[in-house]
């Protein structure tokens, strides 16, 4: 286990290095002098001079990169031009909101996607299978911001059951929090449920045709035991890996969902920063997202390692 962990850690170091170069390189896409762009419409010479010194713009590119990476290592992702707050603090403030949304969305995705995949695989060729595949195509083809708008139209405007927007912290009022989060979580979970359903179906079809499943049936075990204990357990490895990979989809989707439902999370932070031309915040958000994605992939690999004894040999 330790050797595997070290090996995996060794592979993510160069990836992280390239990620940091990529994100730092984004700044080079800004036309002209970055300090002038960052200084906004006022073009205050004092601000431009301050930004020049702060961003080390008079130094060569590799040196500037070294300064930036050095800051990242000490938890300094720069400062928001708009709010003058450290990017780390802004990210830390918004992260729990998106984390809650992501957890709820993933719970919904797992609750729909895995059972639908199992039913589809077990009843292959049946109406259940057909319905599950239609659901998957629907999930993959529906833009989640449109689904969000349609849900607001139905549940908020027409029925008046749920609030269309407005975030309440779960520590203030859990009920109001869940009422505000259930629609965005469903919207976000819907697309991932479709992907999970297809993969679960595919993995289960493979597993259910394996010899050990035939043996389990021949032993006279009941169908639920065969499917869930012998089938699903072995099909779990690719599903765990996929769950982590879908984290990226979750964050991309969160950007749009938070915009539709006005949730003050990570996604809204990046969009607001883009329009405020607050580029260090954009860089900080992308860096945190990419790093989280890499770490989650590592955790998924380790989870697969634990779940699947064959990988340990």
């Amino acid at each position: 286990m330790l050797a595997y962990l070290i090996k995996r850690l060794a592979t993510i170091v160069p990836t992280l290095l390239f990620v940091s170069m990529l994100i730092f390189g984004l700044q080079q896409l800004l036309p002209g002098d970055p300090a002038q762009v960052l200084a906004g419409e006022d073009q205050d010479p004092t601000v431009i001079a301050y930004l020049h010194a702060k961003l080390h713009l008079d130094r060569p590119l590799p040196v500037r990169y070294a300064y930036w990476v050095g800051g990242v290592f000490t938890g300094d992702l720069g400062e928001s031009v708009r709010s003058q707050q450290p990017v780390t603090r802004l990210v830390a403030e918004k992260l729990p909101v998106t984390f809650e949304l992501a957890c709820l969305a993933m719970t919904i995705a797992l609750a729909i996607g895995i059972p639908a995949g199992i039913v589809s695989a077990v009843g292959r060729g049946s109406w259940w299978d057909y319905a599950a595949n239609v659901f998957a195509l629907w999930g993959l083809s529906t833009p989640n911001f449109w689904l969000g708008i349609l849900m607001i139209l139905l549940f908020s405007v027409e029925l008046g059951w749920l609030p269309a927007s407005g975030y309440v912290s779960p520590f203030v009022d859990l009920r109001a929090n869940l009422a505000a989060m259930i629609m965005p979580a469903f919207v976000l979970g819907n697309a991932i449920a479709a992907v999970l359903m297809r993969h679960t179906r595919s993995a289960m079809l493979q597993v259910l045709s394996a010899d050990y499943v035939r043996t389990a049936r021949a032993k006279g075990l009941s169908e639920p035991v065969v499917v869930l204990k012998h089938g699903l357990r072995n099909a779990l490895t690719p599903i765990i890996t996929l769950g982590a990979l879908e984290f990226g989809t979750l964050l991309s989707g969160a950007v749009l969902t938070e915009q539709v439902f006005t949730i003050p999370g990570f996604g809204k932070l990046i969009v607001d920063s883009v329009f405020n031309r607050d580029y260090s915040v954009v860089q900080g958000v992308v860096l945190v997202t990419a790093t989280s994605y890499i770490v989650l992939n590592l955790l998924a690999d380790l989870a697969s390692f634990v779940v699947n004894p064959r990988l340990r040999r």
């Binding site: 390239f18 083809s141 833009p143 449109w146 139209l153 990226g248 749009l256």
Partner: protein, 303 residues
């Protein structure tokens, strides 16, 4: 951009009864013809293409012409899809918006293919030479790109490049490139040890000729499948960027920006949200159906 390999479907496909002399493309077309979903997808995509090309003639009104006497008018005989917050005809805007969506889908994927295929071929070809340094570098760079969620990377790129449809297409194209690099690389590694490539090398063909004449045609099938699915993802990505204000700029029509405006009038003018969203859904669904069908018909791994 998630590629889904649905083995169950592939296995359930009817066994092909095709003459042995039929070429691979002809056989693929015959297989595709038997998949109703793919054919429906193809027909709907073609319909959208016709709508996009004929927009100036079939749109009943000017898509940017405002009418203060017809603000947020419900669908009726004059305005079939209703009007928006400044009296523009929603149907005409949906028809013209088809251009932005299709253009974004096709141009973005063309950018991804033009970057992804040469880099992927280089990585795959060099995987066993020079200690695999070139391949290692390209692969780590691809990993870095893939670590940034597709839309977030596209948003960041579009933000730094500046909001416009052209920049949105560049951002989407660049963000989707790593998938094509990885796919091409894997295919090249498989194909380059085949006898016909060895034979081409043995008779003295230069590497670029082997890549273009012998490798590329043999890795085209999975690339075509991935391209179709990538167009679907790019259409959604363009709509998403336009929805956020980073794609097509007003007053030019785009389905995403129409939805962005519509969300503010959802209680008084729901038709403003229904039609552009439905158009995105139909176009993306059609490309997904076509991509699924093409995968079963073309991708050798799925047969």
């Amino acid at each position: 951009m998630t590629t889904i390999v649905d083995e169950g479907h592939a296995r359930s496909a009817a066994p092909s009864r095709l003459p042995a002399h039929a070429g691979p493309w002809r056989r693929a077309w015959r297989r595709l013809r038997h998949r109703k979903g793919a054919l429906v997808g193809l027909v709907v995509v073609l319909l959208f293409v016709i709508v996009a090309l004929c927009a100036p003639w079939i749109a009943p009104f000017d898509p940017i012409e405002t009418s203060w006497s017809a603000i947020r008018q419900a669908p009726d005989a004059t305005h079939w899809f209703g009007t928006d917050e400044i009296g523009r005809d929603v149907l005409s805007r949906v028809i013209w918006g088809t251009r932005a969506s299709l253009l974004a889908g096709v141009v973005s994927v063309t950018i991804s293919l033009s970057l992804g295929i040469p880099i992927g071929i280089l990585a795959g070809w060099m995987s066993a030479t020079a200690g695999g340094i070139v391949d290692g570098l390209i692969s780590r760079l691809v990993d870095a790109f893939l670590a940034c969620p597709f839309l977030i990377l596209a948003i960041a790129l579009a933000a730094f490049l500046g909001p416009s449809l052209t920049n949105a297409m560049i951002a989407i194209g660049v963000s989707a490139t790593p998938v094509f690099v990885r796919l091409t690389r894997a295919q090249v590694i498989d194909v380059k040890v085949e006898d016909y490539v060895e034979a081409a090398r043995a008779v003295g063909n230069p590497p670029w000729r082997i890549a273009l004449r012998h490798v590329l045609p043999n890795i085209a099938a999975p690339l075509i499948v991935q391209s179709t699915l990538a167009i679907a993802a790019a259409v959604i990505a363009e709509a998403s960027l336009s929805f956020l204000g980073l794609g097509q700029q007003p007053p030019a029509p785009s389905w995403g920006s129409m939805l962005n405006t519509a969300k503010d009038f959802i209680d008084s003018a729901p038709w403003m949200a229904i039609w552009p969203g439905l158009s995105i859904f139909l176009l993306v669904l059609s490309f997904n159906l076509l991509g699924d069908g093409l995968r079963d018909a073309l991708d050798p791994r799925q047969r």
